[in-house]
Symmetry: C2
Subunit: 373 residues, 2 copies
């Protein structure tokens, strides 16, 4: 199943500068069994690994064995696998376990998993005894390129996704590219949607590079993957840098997400993966930018082409046979990003530059009609 780690492969890293909450993202192959020297800086009386059943089977033995060489005590909390478990019950299972084991503030949590495990574990770390340390070991491309930077943690509420949470920065992020070997192709593609996103909004050189190297990325070539993760984290860090608590500037990271959230909600959460919805949403947002005279048709075509090559949908689904555009608009209006009744779209104001602003409903309808089904 897994190829042997490439021990000759040089480790990449990205330093996130947040004053006394600064941390590093390590990106590499063959971290185990030798382990990571940087963990020695994170002192703790016990380490608690939070993971799910699927990942436990694949990676837990290696990681917990290694952590036992660094920390006096190592415990494991194994949660069920799936977005539906990103809730209070799972969070409380972590809290109860920590209390039963007598874990104090000198405990470090390790989130071994994708976005669900990372968000849950991060919020547990933010809230346990009002804040303890945590380390992320993201095991999906999406989590590596998106959750590594920004400090967002949280859980879902029955009335809304990601409504309860905290900003809590990890002490270290370890992106072990070897874990991507077991990632299903569909999820690799979904992760690539967020990578492609960084091109139009901030760095067209990344889009150029992807056009030349996408086949290597899809073949999980270590060097290609390392570049993808490193550049994505660097760009996100630059955007988030001025806006740690999400007051507005960060909004450009939501390129494709306004349409994308409508797709996810309209199809029922989980039918389209988040990245798939964002992919089709980016095409729609690019088309809207074009119709507002902000980019040319060639730009939209170029973006559509790379999205298709990445194995992602380039057209939105029909979410309502009777009034598809109306349903999209209704869903976007209830989205939490709708401000004072107006829907804000992240639009491309020339290649590599994004802005957030409202757009006329009639034009949005035309774009939905042109880009769906």
């Amino acid at each position: 199943m897994a190829r042997p780690p490439d021990l000759s492969f040089p480790m990449h890293s990205v330093d996130i500068d947040l004053g006394d909450r600064s941390y590093s993202i390590l990106i590499g192959s063959g971290f185990l069994p030798d382990g990571i020297a940087r963990l020695a800086d994170i002192r703790a009386t016990s380490a608690v690994v939070v993971t799910n059943a699927t990942l436990a089977r694949l990676y837990l033995k290696g990681w917990s064995g290694f952590l036992a060489t660094v920390y006096p005590r190592v415990h494991v909390v194994e949660l069920p696998d799936g977005e539906e478990y990103k809730n209070w019950d799972s969070l409380n299972r972590i809290f109860s376990a920590l209390l039963e084991w007598g874990c104090d503030r000198k405990t470090v949590l390790f989130a071994l998993g994708g976005g669900v495990i990372g968000d849950l574990t991060g919020f547990a770390a933010a809230s346990y005894m009002r804040g303890i340390a945590f380390v992320q070991i993201p095991t999906t491309l999406l989590a590596q390129v998106d959750s590594s930077v920004g400090g967002k943690t949280g859980i879902n509420h029955p009335l809304g996704k990601n409504m309860i949470g905290a900003f809590h920065q990890p002490r270290l992020v370890i992106c072990d590219l070897d874990t991507l070997d077991t990632l299903p192709k569909r999820e690799l593609s979904a992760g690539l949607a967020e990578v492609i996103k960084y091109g139009p909004i901030a760095d067209m050189a990344l889009l150029d590079w992807l056009e030349g190297s996408l086949d290597a990325v899809l073949a999980k070539d270590r060097r290609a993957l390392a570049h993808v993760v490193q550049r994505s984290c660097q760009i996100k860090a630059a955007v988030v840098g001025c806006d740690e608590k999400e007051t507005g500037l960060r909004a450009v990271l939501n390129f494709g997400h306004t349409f994308g959230h409508a797709i996810e909600a309209g199809m029922g959460y989980g039918v389209w993966l988040h990245g798939e919805a964002v992919a089709a949403g980016m095409v729609m947002a690019a088309e809207l930018s074009h119709r507002l005279g902000m980019v040319d048709a060639r730009f939209v075509q170029r973006l559509t082409s790379i999205i298709g090559r990445a194995g992602l949908p380039t057209r939105g689904p029909i979410v309502d046979a009777a009034d598809n555009a109306g349903r999209y608009l209704a869903l976007m209006h209830v989205d939490k990003k709708a401000q004072a009744g107006e829907i804000h779209f992240v639009l491309i104001d020339g290649p590599g530059r994004a802005v957030s602003r409202p757009a006329p409903d009639a034009l949005v309808r035309q774009v939905i009609d042109a880009c769906c089904g």
Copy 2:
């Protein structure tokens, strides 16, 4: 029941300097019905008052009527009254209400109540959409002198008190001394325990003043109460100032709390009020300091005397007829402040100066034997 507000009484205030999280504590009488001009600085699309049934009956009409003149929408979440409701269920009631009302990040929560309401509401504000604004209107002396400064918020877990929470600073604290008119005498005394505490650990002038003015405080004289709240907040702010996230220096605020927590746990939570347990705990900690040669017997006598005059217990209870000192020690060992097996006591290292350090078990036993029953 309530005396008319003293409108001629000048408002006191304490400014808490925390950079971009700075806020003011307003202390006064007759805030209502004229309201507080400072609220105009806290812009929000809706205000949500969190309170309990008892306080709702006394104060809600005045406050919600006033808030309706400042904010477009005002909602109320009424929770049951009692420490046993400082839990996830109450927190989730707040979240559900906020989501049902469509509250966004531009919502401000008002905590109208004592410590339970303040801790719950503060944690709800810390976690809702990863952090929204909140204002405290503490209605007990304890909450006014203790919860106004420090930013601690949180809930209890079945396996431990205050185990889940966040540091989240309020945008404003309004200490309306008029609300103390309805405070039972026993709770006024319990609040005074934390006031008395600030003398031995930081400011003997406050102890001198209390010795001369305690009768006025107990009679709820506005000027005396204002001084008590203002000085307590100033002293706590000075101590917390260098140690916002509680890394160690703040420990001196726990004078009397190590013995006190053992009393609360040994008697069953709620049998002794927190302030009552801290009062007896301060006598024990002072006696321990004396037996370690750090303060003279007169100091212990002086502290014991003011505690007794405030209507507080000066001796600890017998928590175990067979082995009282052994039970105290066992309870202190499981307390979260026990580090690496050693119990740390806050001791008085000369009047107005405190230190945190371990003490020999045999000596602690002697103190318990001398100070209980």
